[in-house]
């Protein structure tokens, strides 16, 4: 925001409606994300925060405005989508590992088929990522043989195998048992020290306070407020954010 360099990701007046029911899910979104920035996006359910980050790797299309990711304007151009997807890794709430492939096969799928990397090299790189998320010993197991926390760490490793510039996290800990949330957050915190650009939709306010450069608060498809975590948590500017924070921090 403060930097003068071109932003890595830029939303300019983006509006989106769901094709199925005409619901106006993103309303006049204007946002910029700098390279290396860590941003936490929060807000009540249905506020459009998942949809917002899903636009960045073209899982969702938008109808108005422009969304630029690393110099590529996302639109109907399929080539642009391919390019962007190679630079953007994504981690889902439900992990979305491929259950019919082993952990290692999940990891090398994209490097071998999309990046055309030789299998041996892909395996070596995959093992490095598995080491990073501390899951090497399960490399030859199937995803459903692992715990939720382990599966989510595999999913992070899988996204990292493409050496993305940007990582998107869509509520990565929301489907996990309380005991497993920490192991996933630890891996994510470790990633922040690598200078990668990270956008994370989460309700883990502890994580936001610890690593985020900026917190974005959304409601009803709008960006209501954005501020550094300290400022956002201590003195939220809008009544909507105050109300939200009192509900999630209250207990």
């Amino acid at each position: 925001m403060t930097s003068n360099a071109t932003p890595l990701i830029e939303f300019k007046g983006v509006n989106k409606w769901y094709a199925s029911n005409g619901y106006h899910v993103l309303r006049d979104v204007n946002l910029q994300f700098a390279k290396g920035e860590k941003v936490v996006i929060c807000g009540p359910s249905g506020s459009g925060k998942s949809t917002l980050i899903r636009c960045i790797n073209a899982l969702e299309e938008y109808q108005e405005g422009t969304l630029t990711v690393d110099g590529t304007v996302l639109g109907d151009d399929l080539k642009g989508i391919d390019k962007v997807r190679r630079e953007v890794g994504m981690v889902f709430q439900q992990f979305n590992l491929f259950p019919h492939l082993t952990v290692l096969e999940n990891l090398i799928l994209s490097p071998t088929w999309v990046a055309k990397m030789p299998r041996k090299e892909a395996i070596e790189k995959a093992m490095v990522q598995l080491e990073r998320v501390r899951i090497v010993e399960h490399a030859h197991k199937y995803p459903l043989q692992l715990s939720g926390g382990q599966q989510q760490r595999v999913a992070i490793a899988r996204a990292l195998c493409l050496t993305p510039k940007i990582m998107l996290f869509d509520e990565p800990t929301s489907a996990l048992d309380p005991e497993m949330i920490k192991e996933v957050l630890d891996v994510m915190i470790e990633l922040t020290s690598q200078g990668m650009t990270m956008l994370c939709v989460t309700h883990e306010m502890g994580f936001a306070k610890a690593v985020a450069d900026r917190v974005i608060f959304m409601d009803q498809g709008q960006v209501v407020e954005q501020a550094p975590p300290q400022q956002f948590f201590d003195s939220p500017q809008t009544d909507r954010a105050q109300d939200f924070l009192s509900k999630i921090l209250g207990h």
């Binding site: 899982l59 890794g89 889902f92 439900q94 979305n96 019919h100 994209s110 199937y142 459903l144 996204a159």
Partner: protein, 367 residues
Amino acid sequence: MSTIFKSIDARPMPGSRSGPLAWLRVNLFFSAGSSLLSLGLLALGVWVLVASMDWAVLHAVFNANLQSCNELRGVGACWGVISEKGRLIVMGRYPEAEHWRPVIATALMLGVVVLSCMPRFWNKALPLLWGVMLAVYFVLMKGGFVGLTAVDTDQWGGFPLTVMLTVISMTLAFPLAIFVALGRRSSMPAIRTLCTLYVELIRGVPLITVLFMASFMLPLFMPEGVKIDVLLRVVVGITLFSAAYMAEVIRGGLQALPKGQTEAAATLGLSYWQVQRMIVLPQALATVVPSIMNTFIGLFKDTSLVTIVSLYELTGALGLALNSDADWRPFKIEAYLFITFIYFAFCFAMSRYSLWIEDRTAVSKVR
């Protein structure tokens, strides 16, 4: 001060629940009603067995002796009909002197099918093997060169014809069904409409009608002088018919797959066809193995309908062998039991294979 948590060791479930006696008690005699039902069914089973043994074995005639068969009509089975007519039933109208050809060709075809069923042979050489097999098969069956007498396709019959129609139609219908199923979910309206139209049209018509159309109507629309072999027309008919049903089965499997799978694959940069081939189809097909096998087994038995266009596969050949022979005609039941056995053996093998492959593909799903 805190107490230290001590875990209790797991121990086996109490009470002896193993052994045949325990099994009987749990499964057959757990209450007065169930005991009564079990005994009743046992008695019925014994009675059926004794009665049928009486007919099928004790009073049966095993050699092709028409006189003793006629004497024991209604009392004992006449298995002699099989040694007398078996060859005609199994081989149909194929010239008798050349019977070795369908035997070798069919054995070869079944051999390749069995190989293809084993995942360890699923590699790039397999399509090549199929190509060679089909070439050898048709050269052997049709003849006309390399010193083999030519045998017209309308002479092919009996069990080899059943096998050939099933195997070729299955092999063609399966990939077609996959494309149609994917097509019905396509984002392109033209493709979607075309696939839906095809499925609904075929499903709205009985197989007999499809075969009849393929055989008698199609030639009317062909330009003068163009003749498509009857066998080819029938294969196309059966293929189109089963593919429509199978496409719906596969679509069911596609529907069952969580959307997150394709999304995750897309975010990894995989193309549409890569996603379908490596992520979607392996999982979707694994969930519908039982229903696909259902369609295959149905197809195997439906080949008997080709009699309608004067092709005499196993069932048709039986009629051919017995209807024209007044002496042996009364012993049709025995002959039908004979082909029942053949059909059953193959269908049973197919269902066992289906169970096995289901088991195999389920490995990754076990938690």
